[in-house]
């Protein structure tokens, strides 16, 4: 017998837009993180009205509601931590409007990040936020997580490129916030909603800025014999007033893993490489490329390669973009951290990460956005071994705590989600978390939307405001044939 909720969802959306069999739900237990949580069911709305209908049903059945794009998130933000309806936006994937003159686009949340850039490339424009998952991740997901990417060093993160949202509050209310014109009157609601990790509203429409593609791009690869030389180069480039469009670092171990996979011609015997990009007006980019190369050499770069054309540039980037895939070939599982530190603390922090890896017996690869101090240590482990899983979390926590000691933060771009909620008290007092909780409760008063995220769970499940699920709903996903 079908549960009432499933029947109502199917009648609202059609049978093809509702998944509920265990084998159908398997995929949706995961995102890009190591977290796992199974939803009760998965739905695929096509319109804002359908999203509103789903929200009404979730309220009627007091079932958690979780928004999801492509599921590439790295902190469990789009996982159904306490079960419930997973609202997947992949069928709301239309680009609604492109306004070339004003450099604006309005999209549905399921539009894939790189598809928008492709759609406006003919006009010399692009959507600047470029997470490494940009060929799969959705703009709705980018907005929820305030996603970054390699080029956010110069171009900013998603919040700097988002202008207006249409969203459905968990109460069912449809709201529009922000404006395609700048500086909307009143409180910066948009600034609050972007990056709220799906805990305030389900976003159904997004207006973004489009950025002009640079006239000239210069991509450099600098090869270093020591990690310290590479990190000190980063500090020096920033101190000299040059803001590269991207400044990525791979350590020697990661580089060897990458080379074995992509055969891009990376050196196998170095300690680190910096992938640097400068762009802009031809005259400025050429000058900056020379300046950057000079700084690299001053810090004992063994070699500085400059891409001569687009294919060479793509080859240099291929290593960076395929790094996670390359590491995936070497280990059953890896854990990606996302700590942030002041750039000047890069050398000491990398040394500390190396020590932490040795202490816990893990290989840690480092591949990260060096220019803004956003670290992504990759800890290789076997998730099938519970003891390893426990130790990898311990090692990861040590890294994060060291980042905080350096004046940094626990997440630069991946979000808190269900991965780092327990670490929030390291940064915020109870009173500060209470202020944030009240912000959430103002828009998500029953806690029905994306419960179990961002905020540390209090003992006795006090965190989750929604009542325990009715038995029929809680078991639906597992019992219905």
């Amino acid at each position: 017998m079908k549960s009432d909720l499933l029947r109502d969802l199917q009648s609202l959306l059609g049978d093809a837009a509702v998944l509920h069999r265990p084998e159908e739900l398997l995929l949706y237990e995961y995102d890009g993180s190591v977290e796992i949580a199974r939803p009760t069911c998965v739905v695929f709305p096509r319109t804002t009205a359908e999203v509103q209908g789903i929200v009404q049903l979730a309220n009627r059945y007091q079932t958690p509601l979780i928004g999801r794009g492509a599921g590439t998130g790295l902190s469990g933000g789009a996982l159904a931590r306490h079960g419930g309806i997973l609202v997947v936006f992949s069928r709301m994937n239309r680009i609604l409007d492109i306004d070339i003159d004003n450099q604006r686009a309005t999209v549905q949340p399921g539009v894939v990040n790189s598809d928008l850039s492709a759609a406006v490339a003919h006009a010399g424009l692009h959507f600047a936020p470029d997470p490494s998952s940009q060929k799969a991740c959705t703009i709705g997901g980018n907005v929820s997580e305030n996603s970054g990417g390699p080029h956010t060093l110069a171009y900013g993160v998603t919040t700097n490129h988002t202008l207006a949202l249409e969203a459905v509050l968990p109460t069912g209310e449809l709201i529009r916030i922000g404006s395609p014109a700048l500086d909307p009157t009143g409180y910066d609601l948009l600034g609050l909603f972007v990056g709220s990790e799906g805990t305030l509203a389900l976003v159904t429409e997004i207006t973004v800025k489009l950025t002009r593609l640079p006239e000239t791009i210069k991509t450099l690869l600098a090869i270093f014999e020591t990690l310290d030389d590479a990190t000190e180069t980063v500090v020096d480039i920033t101190a000299r007033g040059i803001t590269p469009a991207a400044c990525e670092m791979l350590d020697g171990w990661t580089l060897r893993a990458v080379e074995a996979y992509v055969h891009a011609g990376f050196p196998l015997d170095c300690a680190a490489v910096l992938l640097l990009e400068v762009d802009g007006l031809t005259e400025a980019a050429e000058q900056h490329a020379e300046d950057v190369a000079e700084i690299c050499r001053r810090h004992h770069a063994r070699e500085v390669r400059v891409a001569r054309d687009a294919p060479e540039r793509d080859l240099l980037w291929k290593g960076r973009k395929n790094a996670f895939g390359a590491v995936g070939r070497l280990s059953p599982t890896y854990y990606v951290q996302d700590g942030v530190i002041p750039r000047t603390k890069l050398p000491v922090t990398l040394r500390r990460i190396d020590e932490i890896g040795k202490k816990h017996g893990f290989q840690i690869g480092n591949i990260f956005h060096a220019g803004d101090g956003n670290l992504h240590p990759l800890i290789l482990f076997d998730a099938r071994d519970p003891e390893q899983f426990r130790r990898v979390i311990a090692a990861s926590d040590e890294i994060i705590k060291f980042c905080l000691e350096m004046g940094g933060s626990i997440t630069g771009e991946h979000g808190v989600g269900m991965e780092k909620d327990r670490l929030m008290p390291l940064l915020f007092t109870d009173a500060e978390l209470e202020v944030m909780r009240r912000v959430r409760d103002a828009f998500n008063p029953t806690g029905i939307l994306n419960p179990g995220k961002i905020f540390p769970t209090k003992k006795g499940c006090g965190e989750i405001h929604v009542r325990p699920l009715p038995q029929s709903v809680a078991t639906t996903g597992f019992t219905v044939a």
């Binding site: 004003n102 910066d188 933060s409 997440t411 940064l427 944030m436």
Partner: protein, 464 residues
């Protein structure tokens, strides 16, 4: 409302010390907002003291307004209650500054000009080139949300404010964001504080990303017979690969104001001759870089100027600062240019600037009002209406004109407010623009941060 003088001064002295309570009526006049004088001004020295003051105010149902340089307290609606002024000028330290990391943490009472000097020693700066630059504080700049010409390239405070510490309307010290340039930990509450006129919290600390000072800045001015041509040039620049630091369009009427004695109150160096014209619109663009880069800019700007049907010149280097200062101080200069100056701030899509200017010009002229306009290339327009007198006729004309401009902006898909107008007119004008569809959401926010209505009560949108 608490009548002036009824707040027990002894209680206030307990909170901050007797020497930090201003109760002398003559001194309190300096803290007046829209004609309202507080019964005391307090000069706290710490966030902890501020928290105690706010708790006290909450229990006594007092209204508290924080003030820095006291240059923009006339923005917004008149306060519903104003019992205590919080004079933030003692909280004026640079808490930390790491030039190598390009990050900065400051107290709100620090004057922007002094902060600029400290950063300049390391050839860095904050791109907050806002009006009242000599007197304004960093806290006031953020709380008022004013912008400056450099937003064309650097964006606004929301793009480089990394974190804020503040005291809520319930006296709870809290924070948001952090001190690193990239951070997604928790809600971005600090963005809510920008432009909130102190209605959500008393800012006690601000963290910023700093920027290297661009090398060899130059200024270019193109002049055109019509606004349409100036806007055409703006559109051509937007389609080019040029990324100027500033890009502003000035009406011909601005020239006379910028040449006047009033302007020299804000910038003593004279305006360079023959740069602006009293009969032509101007597009002013700033750029910087190596010699090759500057040559490229100049050549491209000259070519684009010609294509748009104007004539362009490079602003003489030695007069660039004086010219830039006037552009930065457009608001205070025009406010002083009429006994009842009213400034409408319009925001439209960049390609609609010409339409918005036409609407506003027609609205002004239909009501026999002198006007002057400065439009940022990104679509923000400061449209100053300059009546000849603070009288009923002036009020009626301003009311008609501003209502027309509000309507026009709404039709263009933008928005408009009246950040500056004479206090007596605030009740007849739509200071915060037409009804705001987001108001219910804003009220939720206000209720979270200041449920008792202690902070800047009544000044914000819809009387929040």
């Amino acid at each position: 409302m608490t009548p002036a003088g009824t707040v027990a001064h002894s209680r206030l002295a307990d909170l901050v010390g007797l020497q930090r309570v201003v109760a002398d009526p003559a001194q309190l006049a300096a803290y007046e907002i829209d004609g309202l004088r507080p019964s005391a001004a307090l000069q706290p020295e710490s966030a902890a003291q501020i928290a105690e003051i706010i708790k006290f105010a909450g229990s006594e149902k007092l209204g508290v307004i924080a003030a820095g340089g006291r240059t923009k307290l006339n923005m917004g609606l008149p306060p519903k209650r104003y019992d205590l002024a919080l004079d933030m000028s003692s909280l004026n330290k640079i808490i930390s500054y790491d030039p190598g990391d390009l990050t900065l943490s400051v107290e709100p009472g620090l004057r922007l000009a002094l902060l600029g000097e400290a950063l300049a020693k390391h050839r860095q700066f904050l791109p907050l080139t806002v009006p009242y630059h000599a007197r304004t504080t960093i806290g006031g700049t953020i709380a008022s949300g004013v912008d400056g010409p450099l937003r064309q390239f650097y964006g606004t405070a929301r793009d480089f404010l990394l974190g804020v510490e503040f005291v809520t309307g319930e006296g709870v010290p809290a924070k948001s964001g952090g001190r690193v340039v990239k951070n997604v930990t928790g809600y971005d509450i600090h963005k809510l504080m920008i432009g909130a006129l102190g209605t959500l919290g008393v800012i006690t600390r601000l963290n910023f990303k700093t920027f290297p000072v661009p090398s060899a800045t130059r200024g270019f001015v193109a002049r055109f017979p019509t606004a349409l041509q100036a806007c055409d040039m703006r559109n051509r620049i937007a389609r080019s690969h040029l990324t100027p630091l500033t890009l502003d369009i000035l009406s011909s009427s601005v020239t006379e104001i910028f040449e006047s004695d009033i302007a020299s109150r804000f910038e003593s160096e004279p305006l360079p001759p023959n740069v602006l014209s009293r009969t032509e619109w101007a597009l002013s663009a700033g750029f910087a870089g190596s010699e090759k880069v500057r040559e490229r800019y100049l050549a491209d700007l000259q070519r684009i100027t010609a294509a748009s049907g104007g004539s362009g010149i490079l602003v003489p280097e030695e007069t660039l600062a004086a010219a830039f200062a006037r552009k930065r101080e457009f608001v205070p200069i025009t406010l002083d240019s009429s006994p009842a100056a009213t400034i409408v701030r319009m925001s439209v899509l960049p390609a609609r600037i010409a339409d918005a200017l036409t609407f506003a010009q027609n609205a002004a002229e239909a009501n026999s009002l002198r006007w002057a306009a400065l439009a940022r290339g990104l679509g923000i327009i400061y449209f100053a209406l300059l009546p000849t007198g603070l009288n009923d006729q002036g009020r009626q004309r301003i009311q008609n004109a501003t209502n027309s401009i509000h309507d026009a902006c709404a039709k263009l898909g933008g928005q408009s407010t009246i950040p500056w107008c004479p206090t007596p007119w605030k009740t007849s004008l739509k200071v915060w623009g037409p009804e705001n569809p987001s108001f219910p959401q804003m009220r939720k926010i206000k209720n979270v941060f200041d449920p008792r209505g202690v902070l800047s009560p009544g000044r914000f949108v819809g009387g929040l």
